[in-house]
Symmetry: C2
Subunit: 633 residues, 2 copies
């Protein structure tokens, strides 16, 4: 066995070199340091059915140091999951073997890695799901030493011990060298051990090139109960090829062909060893809770209800109906109202404390194992996890994010708590859906859509109680909007959502008293946006749109509205943007809405000013100077 | 003294109650737990000239648990920096005393807090500046226990010991209770001590309501050399009022008036004690390096140079000219080229390793002490610190951020490394400036602007070498753009920046060969955007704009361009957006630009398609159905 392991490890190194040299880029040295650990893990410990990578009893392996993927791809070759030709397609257009692992194209990996320091948090989510479903699989996360500088790693260390995840094992490839120079802690394995222990883990230092020691350490991890285990492997970057082993200057550099030949020779030449990974025993999963029929909450139109409260109400209702729904919150469940899920289904609520990065990545780990994952905190604090949200999309994960307390309308707490950039942030996530409901029944209906919606979605909720506008039977398709006020005489369209929709309705009423009619659109679906209705409203209201949003002027509602007027020749509206443009302070919600110029009074003023201005097609400059047709072409 | 301290501590509690009850919101219980610590610190340890809060020898005090600001404001009253009437203006519109500390209005604080877990990193930056300038001030950071769940806190712990910051002292108010329930670690002060020690700190547990013990602990911190000190104070939330002391359910709740009266009575009534804080001794600062005249790098127009390389070249040149310039990088200085500053001025380069959150907040700490701060990493990884960037703007700090390796044009490394949301993210920062240069001389010129520009700025650089387009003497005002190709016969305008500008120029050349003239605009200033030139181009090129960006379609160049056509009645162009719309993979840069539809070939196709489509004013639907003028009003 030791011979086989040594041969396998050499093969992983050789194949890491072959693949990166063929690609002309990549990270052979970071792969070579990890090869012995991967060899022992795959040959002796991992239980995985490579014919069925999503089998629920498979152990999970997360390569948090994603740049070392050549060693993982080499292991996939050794187990027969890919062939040698595919291995050599690394980093080429159309290859499943991207520069960092990507489950969009390679289902053998569960999540995308490459933004360092996120893998352990993903592993925490997976290990929590094993516990929830009473499955015996183990989760292994391989990290680089450099990435332990990321705070997200310590959030995950903290949560793993808090939840006593003895089914989780962290493997730190302590190769001493980062990208631009030595790491902070070098080969100080005592420091790593002390930190892991202080965070409640079983931890030990191991020679990462001693196959027997690796074997014993993994066995010890497996038999350690009540706490997770962290193995700190002392390794050499580039181990196996004397020219680069433990040398600076070889991060992220493929070997030139002559050096590759030399290295492969030093490593004993090419091999095409094929190993068998043991399949997991199928466990009988925990009997799933029975699913109740969905009973969405409904609200009477004479009530005032905060949309954040409805998030909690609907989350509980959806949790009743979907036994695979889980919720996470960052210690503000009494503000976001996710506490309603906790109270109804305590096993499926995960308190992630004030650690938003770990919350999102753990949610990804749960989602890729098939759970419906809802995550909530203040909208402002989701910005803490933007990299994790971005990577969740690269991971092709489905996550439902809810940000409460959005906008200056939160009032007295001041700008640090306001969430004025969340729409911009969430619109710019690959394939995301962005919703901003304005009333209770709408929020509940949208939640019912979300529970089945793939990809990253975002629901923006409001702190204040607002009037219920819609009946509980109204439909709210994603990508739609609601025309709440309309007449044949509308001189402009007000587009609003959430808190500002109520200001828009108030403005409509005041304008009506002055004999001025305006259209009012509730743009609850910010992405995708309802192109057809917006275009129609522009056509029918003299090409005048006023977009009102409790968000910075950039990246939010107005930018979303203007998307609807792109790409096809058509009449374009005059768009007046009412948005937050200077930093709000503390004050009453209505004072801050006024100070930002986004309350009913300012909307009325904007309508009156726009009404008296020339329409887009009346602009004299346009008529005078714009060339017509194609006469100059 | 002990009596005075007890009286002062009681006053801080009473005033925290008075202010929050008057406000009708706020966090008295979180203030009361910290009152004894603040009393001893302000009375005996802090050296601060309240007449001159920005004096360079003042100790710094950062209240990381910003929600406990009532106790800080109460201390400001006790030292005479504010009066009682102002204290009672807490959280009211126009008051300097916002719900969380905000230096925009209250210069007595250096930074905004309220997004938890950022204060210690700010303190690291301040302590590093004391070291750099050989000043003897100390930096105190008061944290809540809940916020130690944030990974950013451990990034700061790590950096503080790495840099042996014995002038930094962390004060943890371990009051056991978070917002929605008990903290993870409760009163387990041994766990906190073990974690701080494992991260290289001197640490001790202290009774946070024993004035003598607090005094001795602060003295021990002051005399501890070679490492920072962390004091873990065991406290009770709401201490001093038996009804709420150490009780759940009192987070963020003001006392009703009757309970406030009862509490104040229990605390011995109102007091208006006035204490003197000792002023610091003026130190003779380190002799500043002499400033060389600015010699910006220049590049010949037959060169190909990567804009990221120019960032390094210009940073070094600006560093020569400005002795108060410092740079931070997250262990990728050989990719961003900030290594050039490190090589030239090693004392002013700070390696922050792979910990972007701490990097940004430490930069804020340096900036608010008057340094010119440049921060660089991959554009993708600035998303890791979005909350910190957001808060830097709330702090009114000036930070120059540079994100390299932006867009799918980085090639083989794949989507985890691409930075496709950075423009959206940075546009939606309060008062930000967003620049995206396309050539070497432009990058250098923009860097020269940035060094004097207040607020948060962002410079997006490109991995690949690109042709030099401009002479070294060309001017590039912020808010401007460059019309690089124009004729009287232009049938459309192509707006591009960075890597896509070179594709646009290529497209222009190909179209020219087919007899089709287009305008090409280099939109290097994404925020603010050049409204006048864009409007003129639209007027003069038949109202047709094609915006091409190596960024998601949301929040980037196209959204910025459409801003220019808002708010005033005018003809709006047909805008065709060429942007990244599906997740890129690995491949050669040119392959990925093509796959995303943003290369020269796709631009040519878009021009030809648009050229043959009816112009905006020719749209038949518009003519038929749009009501004219105000006839319906």
């Amino acid at each position: 066995m030791a011979d086989t392991l040594a041969e396998l490890a050499a093969q992983l190194r050789v194949d890491s070199i072959r693949a990166t040299t063929a690609a002309g880029s990549g990270h052979p040295s970071s792969s070579m340091s990890a090869a012995d650990i991967v060899a022992v893990l795959f040959q002796k410990y991992l239980r995985f059915d490579f014919q069925n990578p999503k089998a629920p009893d498979n152990d999970r392996f997360v390569l948090s140091k994603g740049h070392a993927c050549p060693v993982l791809y080499a292991a996939f070759k050794a187990v027969g999951a890919i062939d040698d030709a595919e291995l050599l397609s690394l980093r080429k257009l159309g290859s499943r073997l991207e520069g960092h692992p990507n489950p969009h194209v390679l289902p053998l990996v569960d999540v995308a890695t490459g933004s360092l320091g996120q893998g352990l948090a993903v592993g925490v989510g997976m290990a929590l799901m094993a516990r929830l479903d009473q499955r015996s699989f183990r989760t292994y996360v391989m990290m680089g030493d450099s990435e332990t500088a990321e705070g997200s790693v310590w959030e995950a260390f903290d949560k793993a011990s808090h939840y006593q995840l003895d089914n989780l094992c962290a493997l730190i490839d302590m190769n001493r060298l980062g990208q631009s120079g030595p790491t902070e802690l070098g080969w100080n394995d005592e420091a790593y051990v002390a930190r892991a222990r202080a965070f409640g883990w079983h931890a030990l230092a191991v020679d990462g090139h001693d196959l027997g020691a690796i074997d014993r350490a993994l066995a010890e991890a497996q038999s350690t109960k009540g706490k997770p285990t962290c193995l700190i492997f002392k390794t050499e970057k580039g181990h196996g090829y004397s020219l680069i082993a433990n040398k600076e200057g070889w991060h992220g550099k493929p070997l030139p062909e002559d050096k590759a030949r030399e290295a492969i020779q030093e490593l004993g030449g090419e091999r095409h060893l094929r190993i068998e990974v043991k399949k997991p025993e199928a466990t009988r999963p925990a009997p799933q809770e029975s699913a109740a029929p969905l009973k969405l909450p409904g609200y009477a139109t004479d009530e005032k209800v905060a949309t954040r409260k409805v998030y909690g109400d609907a989350l509980k209702a959806l949790g009743d109906a979907h036994p695979d729904l889980v919720a996470l919150d960052a210690e503000v469940s009494n503000s976001t109202y996710s506490e309603e899920l906790r109270e109804a289904h305590p096993r499926r609520y995960f308190e992630m404390y004030i650690a938003e990065q770990n919350m999102v990545s753990s949610g990804v780990g749960m989602a890729v194992l098939g759970k419906r994952v809802f995550i909530s905190t203040f909208a402002a604090f989701l910005s803490r996890a933007y990299d994790q949200i971005r990577m969740a999309a690269v991971s092709n994960a489905t996550l439902h994010l809810c940000g409460s307390h959005a906008g200056c309308s939160i009032g007295e707490d001041g700008p640090s708590q306001m969430g004025l950039e969340d729409l911009a942030m969430m619109r710019a996530v690959a394939g995301s859906t962005v919703l901003y409901p304005s009333d209770a029944n709408q929020t509940a209906a949208l939640m019912a859509h979300l529970v089945d919606l793939p990809g990253i979605s975002y629901l923006r909720t409001t702190r204040a109680k607002t009037p219920v506008l819609y009946s509980a039977t109204e439909k709210f398709p994603i990508g739609g909007c609601k025309v709440l006020r309309r007449s044949d005489k509308d001189v402009a369209t007000i587009v609003a959502a959430g808190i500002t929709l109520h200001e828009a309705l108030d403005a409509h009423a005041r304008l009506q008293e002055s004999g001025v009619s305006v259209r009012v659109i509730d743009l609850y679906s910010v992405k995708p946006v309802d192109v057809k209705t917006l275009r129609q409203a522009a056509r029918e209201t003299q090409g005048r749109l006023i977009v009102v949003e409790d968000h910075w002027a950039e990246g939010g509602l107005a930018d979303a509205v203007l998307e609807a007027f792109s790409d096809e020749p058509q009449p374009l509206p005059v768009v007046k943007r009412l948005a937050v443009r200077t930093l709000p302070g503390s004050g009453k919600p209505e004072e801050l809405l006024s100070a930002a110029g986004i309350d009913a009074e300012h909307i009325v003023q904007a309508v009156m000013a726009l009404k008296d201005a020339p329409g887009p097609t009346d602009a004299p400059e346009a008529k005078a100077s714009r060339p017509r047709g194609r006469k100059n072409a």
